[in-house]
Symmetry: C2
Subunit: 221 residues, 2 copies
DNA sequence: TCCCTATTTATCCATATGTATCAATTTTGA
DNA sequence: TCAAAATTGATACATATGGATAAATAGGGA
């Protein structure tokens, strides 16, 4: 058994699978391609994971846990925050997670479009709980006057998810057509500011970069 | 040669290919699957289209022309519209097109994530011109005071595209988890209203459904 | 040292796929 | 009507794939 510090075969496979599945989807990926990227013999996949499908599920589980940890990292402070501050906190961490791990949303998007039988597993275990909580959170924010209530919660929720994730899904297009690396830290923070400015109707100052000068004055509230 | 009215083999193949490529992507689709759906022998694909790739390109060209026609259908009246009215007009038609033909954005999304060599063809011929025009239009609308200028144009553009299209990409999830058919006409109009309300800061009345009652009063402007 | 288990490697196999070929059939034009 | 062209259908083939099998190797405790 390894010391647990270096990447063992199983971890290398998982890491490579996340990369490949996140780039070309389930159908486009081959277990040999994943094994090659991991630098292991493709027969080993069968040993560590029951099947290609099983490896794919492991990727989803791994990434979902990462996301959960990222979004909840300041949970202890939530109680002392205003609803508005809580939304700024969660939205920021969610966008940063997607910038660092765009594969999760890409994999989910592939399967949601595909409507495969994998989608049912994904939906029951991850998407539905996530969407349910997020939609409830949107509705609550509307009640609290933090989000605009002129838009139906369902539409606002999907616009919200799309707004936070799509620029990272479209990263290669943004890079090729506009020369912008959306994964660069300053661009990530800029996007957080953009989404929050839109959502909350006023520019939000983040810690690392002060976009307020280019965003105009903060309105009275 | 056919009269052009009934669906000949070539048209049936194109229609089936749009459906299949739009659902499972390029890698997930097989030419036999497409031929089966079209009800033709799979050998015929080779006669009408040089290759699977060629058929895929034909789908993009076909859908892009449809989109162009849909978005520009009221072009003659643009000159007599205010910038704000023009945006309402174009956004409405763009969203209705995506509701009726979600395959285009799905196919584009597949390839943009995949970053395949097909993406380069797609980008040069369709995405880049489209994004260029759209981004310029966003910047202009900001100058004209129609769009908020507190958000960088690039971010606003990608948020905008995502907001208009994603609910249709996620249609199966919305249906399964919330029982809403986003392709139903009233839902499409509701989404147009939601996006425009967000974009323009005020509810927009569409012809067919009056959402204004649930959206609150129109602000002075 | 030796044995038992865990892990890796090297092949093998049935299937699905994209494409090519060519015969069969239908359509067209004089 | 009939021959040429267009179109469709049936089949073949090389390759890639997911999965299976078993031999080879490594590691760890007695």
């Amino acid at each position: 058994m390894s010391t647990g510090l270096e990447l063992d075969t199983r971890s290398k496979l998982l890491k490579a699978a996340v990369t490949v599945f996140g780039k070309v989807g389930y159908a486009g990926a081959s277990v040999r391609q994943i094994a090659d990227l991991a630098g292991v013999n493709h027969g080993s996949i069968r040993y560590h994971y029951a099947s290609k499908r099983d490896l794919w599920c492991a990727c989803i589980t791994y990434l979902s846990e990462l996301m959960d940890a990222a979004v909840h990292q300041d949970e202890a402070q939530w109680a002392s925050m205003t609803p508005r501050e809580r939304i700024i906190n969660v939205t920021g961490h969610y966008i940063r997670f997607n910038a660092k791990n765009p594969e999760l949303h890409r994999m989910v998007t592939f399967e949601t479009i595909h409507e495969s039988e994998r989608f049912d597993w994904l939906n029951e275990n991850y998407i539905r709980p996530f969407s349910g909580r997020a939609l409830a959170s949107v509705a609550l924010a509307q009640e609290q006057g933090v989000y605009p209530d002129s838009i139906p919660a369902l539409n606002l929720h999907y616009i919200n998810i799309a707004a936070t994730t799509s620029i990272f899904m479209m990263a290669s297009e943004v890079q090729k057509n506009f020369g912008v690396d959306v994964f660069a830290e300053i661009e990530v923070e800029r996007h957080i500011n953009a989404v929050l400015t839109w959502l909350l109707g006023a520019p939000q100052v983040q810690e690392k970069y002060d976009f307020i000068s280019m965003l105009g004055p903060k309105p009275s509230e």
